[in-house]
Symmetry: C2
Subunit: 613 residues, 2 copies
């Protein structure tokens, strides 16, 4: 899944004037406004939407750079159209990836030539990014890169800036977490020792939530809370708004955890760096740790390592695995109710738009045990809207769902025992031959990934071609990845694994216990979008041989929702593919039928949709 927004233009003239006054006061010639928060979160809270505030551009990716006379906004191909519609004439749009278009770094470097000062809030940029930019500035005879403690956008925004969320915490019991905080801490400390560290800074919000078995609600759809953690061989400090720490939470953490205010980490790290300056051991950070956190410490004292918590978190324990399976069955039941209901109302001629339909899906989900909320805004898209990959319908402008148009629904939920994410593409009338052909090519790719067997040590990078091969043969493709890691009652997009062409995916082997999405698609601009997404679990496969004693892995599909029969052309499937589809449908039926004991209509619909091809 991916998310987007509606489009309207903001007049940024006054905001920019205010910002430029502040830049002059602070002696800043070029000011950088990244889109990330201080935790390099993929999705941010409204309080952190500084780049959107200053530029008017609300997409999830992009960087703004402002000088006394110019302002540029750089973003990627997903957002060219939206940025053109949202930016006013104060802004120059830098379309990343087009020939001869500078990156924001290049643009900033050019503007900084001749010794200009470049400013950035040091908490919003990683140490590595800062180092690279400072080095280039030096080479290009620009001025200094100034990592500021103050955020100029916050000063311009003033009272109208939303407050930092103060949502209550929730303790995730062992029955859902499967492993105690104390046990996790023991492992992390082993990692610290292995990496010859004297301490580890943790700044990613989902890593902190996982480590402490706590959940929050500070970022929409992401059950995380604003905090930092600092772990040493003897101490574990959680930096957080202390008001959130109730007696019960205090108890759940045990006596070994020290609670300190959210921003106290900055002084602590500085003091720790000084106190351990002569130690052989290093202060361990990950690539997402901000420049603000590390700039007070001698560079030689810092060692950047692969995030050990991210790696541990990605491999779900038995309790989490079982929870994910169950959550996906419940979630599947809600989707089955929804798609059966949708067929009934559409065939009856009732009128539903993309938003009111999605609301009904949420109703079905809410009834299910352990439901907490959605895991991202539902992508409920009819006809040509389905071709907008990060489409998000808005009540005022959205389209009507129609029985004769392809309907793409990408949705998911947060349950106490797991996070779900799946996409079904449906048709309730008579699809065209072209629509069936496209759907079946996507389905063949989906099945190829689902059925794949690969030696232990293989990464998701190498599986990507399996999903695309049939589309390629037809000269077709899709412009997004094939899979992303999924959290367990955590973020729906979770590192470090993925199936796709990003080189970083090749650095992480798939391990038993990891959950990843399998979501090939095809998008015919202006006509329709197709995506078929299941969440799958990496499992060991029984193979007739075990060459090299390697162990061979594959996937178990945990999403339990039928594929669309009307859109499937069985003549394009080979025997192995039909067998997979029939076995999957039989499993969907068996695992979800008990939800429809008092709902004959849905049960009949399910029977029909899961009958063998």
């Amino acid at each position: 899944m991916s998310v987007g927004t509606t489009v309207s233009r903001t007049d940024t003239t006054l905001r920019l004037a205010d910002l430029r006054k502040l830049m002059a006061v602070h002696n800043i010639d070029v000011y950088i406004v990244p889109s990330e928060d201080a935790h390099q979160s993929e999705y941010i809270a409204p309080v952190d939407a500084r780049r959107a505030f200053i530029s008017g551009f609300t997409g999830s990716a992009g960087c703004a750079v402002i000088t006394p006379t110019k302002a540029s906004l750089s973003t990627d191909g997903r957002y060219f159209l939206q940025a053109e519609q949202e930016l006013d004439t104060n802004w120059e749009l830098l379309k990343q990836g087009l020939p001869d278009v500078p990156t924001w770094q290049e643009w900033a470097l050019r503007e900084a030539e001749g010794g200009k000062n470049v400013g950035v809030d040091a908490s919003l940029i990683s140490a590595a990014q800062a180092k690279s930019l400072a080095g280039k500035l030096k080479n290009r005879k620009g001025g200094e890169l100034i990592g500021m403690d103050l955020n100029l956008i916050d000063s311009v925004w003033g009272e109208k800036q939303p407050e930092r969320p103060k949502e209550a915490l929730r303790i995730l019991g062992l029955e859902f977490a499967g492993k105690s905080f104390a046990d996790k801490l023991v492992e992390i400390r082993k990692d610290i020792e292995k990496n010859k560290g004297c301490g580890l800074i943790v700044s990613m919000l989902d890593e902190i939530a996982w480590l402490f078995n706590l959940r929050g609600n500070d970022i929409p759809y992401n059950p995380v809370f604003f905090s930092y953690a600092f772990i040493t061989p003897t101490e574990a400090i959680l930096y957080i708004d202390e008001a959130k720490i109730t007696e019960k939470i205090r108890e759940s953490l045990g006596e070994t955890v020290t609670i300190k205010p959210y921003n106290a980490i900055f002084d602590d790290i500085k003091a720790f760096g000084e106190a351990t300056a002569t130690s052989d051991k290093k202060l361990l950070v990950t690539s997402s740790v901000s420049w603000a956190l590390t700039k007070s410490v001698d560079e030689n004292k810092i060692s950047t390592i692969k995030a050990p918590i991210e790696a541990s978190k990605a491999v779900k324990n038995e309790t989490e695995v079982e929870g994910m399976r169950k959550a996906h069955i419940r979630d599947g039941a809600a989707q089955i109710q929804y798609f059966a209901w949708l067929e009934k109302v559409l065939l009856k001629g009732d009128i539903y738009d993309e938003v009111s339909a999605a609301d009904k899906l949420e109703e079905f989900r809410k009834e299910k045990e352990h439901f907490v909320g959605l895991s991202f805004p539902t992508i409920s898209s009819a006809g040509s809207n389905g071709a907008i990959i990060h489409y998000q319908p808005e009540k005022s402008t959205c389209a009507r769902v129609e029985k004769d148009k392809i309907y793409l629904c990408d949705s998911g939920a947060q349950f106490l025992d797991g996070t779900t994410d799946s996409t079904r593409t449906l048709h309730y009338g008579t699809p065209t031959e072209e629509e069936k052909r496209s759907y079946t090519l996507v389905l063949k790719g989906h099945i190829a990934v689902a059925r794949s067997v690969f030696p232990k040590g293989s990464s998701g990078f190498i599986l990507d071609i399996l999903a695309r091969q049939y589309l390629w043969r037809a000269g077709l493709d899709y412009r997004h990845g094939t899979g992303h890691g999924v959290g367990s009652f955590l973020n729906v997009h979770e590192g470090p694994i993925g199936i796709g062409t990003r080189m970083q995916y090749n650095e992480v082997p798939l391990e038993v216990g990891m959950f990843i999405s399998n979501e090939p698609g095809y998008y015919e601009d202006g006509k329709y979008g197709i995506r078929i997404e299941n969440v799958v679990l990496v499992v060991e496969k029984e193979t007739p041989n075990n060459f090299g004693d390697k162990k061979y892995y594959g996937f178990e599909t945990v999403t339990m929702v039928p594929m669309c029969k009307r859109l499937t052309d069985p003549s394009m499937l080979d025997e192995d593919e039909k067998k997979w589809l029939n076995e999957y449908h039989s499993e969907v039926y068996e695992k979800t039928k008990s939800f429809f004991k008092a709902d004959d209509y849905t049960l009949e619909w399910l029977k029909r949709e899961t009958s063998p091809v």
Copy 2:
């Protein structure tokens, strides 16, 4: 294909004693003996087999490091057994890839601790390797890395060292090269300009041969000659044993080329570096250029670029493409004669061993037009020898070819119009079910690569899984790459492309006009080896759509030899695979039948082997 050798142990005691005396004279505490020549050639001439001379280990990969009291030889898994058999007790074997085994660099660093001097012939190590090693020496408080002009092994070897080959050059006419030296020079100069260079050092022998449209015979099976080249915007200098430059060759190069002695490049580069020291433009080198060539030049003056000649050479022009197609048809005809003949003699009960059989194959090849020689030593292997991937039979020890054992034959030739390389695995009796299953799994992978369609910009890295997927499903695999680039009357292994898991393959997209091998295999140790290898050409594919206006590419198979019917289980092939196999066989028949007009036996054999499944 890959090559190997027979095994015998050399007593290195006296050689090592002589070397240690010289080390003392030159104040060297740790001496490194790489296996490469001064051109980083994959295969070397006997004169350059210094590492084999000093250690006794004759494998193609490995590095020796000698101290006053110790000697280590590091090599990879292909050679563990051979190294154990060849090394005497003076040597410690470092098995690369096994846990807790140091690399040769780590071993050398440990021995150098406390300020010891580390010496190496600077012409045998690349500048990047030298820089990395020198940096680590400094960090580990070792001494200095000394890049020596003198080679101590040559001094020990003395008069018994083979001479540097002085084989005659051959002019490759336009009818084979397809593009004049002058035209190639224009393109290289464009690359130099694009890279802001004042000159380009060329040290790879096949790049020089390609650029000047000359061929030699200085390294067995590789039609190259010892030389360097230096190209500037106004000059083109060929450094070579001047005795090789006949009047005709002098003429063919035109007036723009300067000929200088082989070793004159070292002084020239030094002088050039000094003369251009204040220029903004850089001296361009590739990663294979030796430390000896660059150490006289200020580091800031040097820019390491991706080899432009290697990249141009990999994309064959129309003449070369047509030549490669024709050479493969001729070569296929020779193999067809051979495999038909082999069936006849084996069924008759005649006795042939792996070497005498291979000699017969060479006879058939020699009769063909434009034949120059073999492109590598024929891997003619019966039964369990086929499981030794780099097996090379020796007359005195080789096995008998038998009709009831799998026979694997990996062979190729140099023709004036192209280089060939293919492997067929045959059985002339009744193979077991297991043998047929293994063969057909390999064949399915071969066909999956041959039939693949992928968007322009894709690399061979991503195709590797297509070849392995059916083996993996059975818990099987093979421990080598799936494909390597092939030269045109040049080296049979040619960069920069490949199909396999090496990350560097992912950096180079496949382009129309490139030739690459498609050679999955399976090896059952102690029993048999299976490999099916064709050379394929990257071509543009007609697809029903052209999503993203990307263009879609695929392969045209140019090797023309039937697969083995007896080893193929048609029930394991799907309709698409059968269709590919039948079409391929029909093409093999049509393209080669004219060679057997006066050879009814072979024609009948070909008809039978290419009849539809």
